[in-house]
Symmetry: C2
Subunit: 241 residues, 2 copies
Amino acid sequence: MRPKIYLFGDSITEESFSDGGWGSSLANHFSRTADVVLRGYSGYNTRWALKVKEKVFPPPQQSGGGDAPPAAVTVFFGANDASLPDRCSGFQHVPPDEYKQNLLSIVAFLKKQWPSTCIILITPPPIDEAARLLHPYVDNPSGLPERTNEAAGIYAKQCLAAAAECGRPSINLWEKMQQFPGWEKAYLRDGLHLTCNGNKFVFEEVVKRLKEEGISLENLPADLPLISEIDTDNPLKSFDN
Amino acid sequence: MRPKIYLFGDSITEESFSDGGWGSSLANHFSRTADVVLRGYSGYNTRWALKVKEKVFPPPQQSGGGDAPPAAVTVFFGANDASLPDRCSGFQHVPPDEYKQNLLSIVAFLKKQWPSTCIILITPPPIDEAARLLHPYVDNPSGLPERTNEAAGIYAKQCLAAAAECGRPSINLWEKMQQFPGWEKAYLRDGLHLTCNGNKFVFEEVVKRLKEEGISLENLPADLPLISEIDTDNPLKSFDN
């Protein structure tokens, strides 16, 4: 039985199996060692995530009972919580304090269900406001972006504070991405969602953090003998164990 | 609980979550409706697959007991079985008759475990022999390709015969790909494994066949409300059911 790695988040998670997406890159990386399971819900904020967590992660007795705890869960919300309350995506807004509390509640829920599972909190990415205006996904006659980079930064800080408070690893995407000159176009395709390079960035950060938590190709056993391990003179012998 | 779609096969399956791979495209296509589970084993032929099938698909009581049967399993072998016996990949060769019987045994095993699961047999792709010589994956001083297109065609026919005998849907990749002028370079990157276009071809064929079997976005319920279904005036109300 291969361990599972759940990806729980919003649209940046839901679309992570598109071409070059960070989710498919993870699945490819762990192709013989772990199952990467997609639980991305476009548009969701932490308030809605909290509301549906039991449906996303049913208790072991409901989901079959014998499933081993997942090796890891990435919790990647905040981009929608950070929508400004008085603009066109206001219905997705969640105040920063509540966002932090919601993250803590999600972690507590996962911890209760799976005490040994690695839970990684990922901050929202930075926002390129000019690009948001060019790529509105709802009618936005105001001429003002529905998200700002400053607001995303406040949520990133709350995410890190939540991770520190519950002693869990985190990835500060908001800060790390902005260290790269030209991050706006290099990493974001519409000021919010990831380009191929942005996906690569997230993939590499997640692999690095997982490795620090002991979840890596070096530590996980391969599922069945690799072709390089097959005895070419007597292949079937390789499967006797 | 989302239905699962298992991809069982050799390297063409194992690497199907690489950039633009047919597996990741399937996972993206079904991102809110089904879990695509990777069970690809590079270099494996049907003889080895038959030997490990209980480990790949443990009986329900061992895998948790409560797991619902998967919606579908793709069985995609033959590229290695078709390695010529007297050339550098001879240890992977399986005679055509045995290949067909092995496929039937794999289908019978899956049918016994999950009577209602859709099982799709996929033939090996065609072979571009010139490209195989340019991209040897083992030492090959003979100057002869380890696989030929003619041999792959014999295995494709056996695969179709097996599918007909057990009444299962099949995809004749070997024939369909060759209908496209320039298939050698368009669909194969090393005379055997898929290019981006080859992956797209396989993805579209699998989606089409699944749809014919009633497994499609139209028929599968989405996991949790879509953002377009959320009541923007009272979002939490959308999660009450």
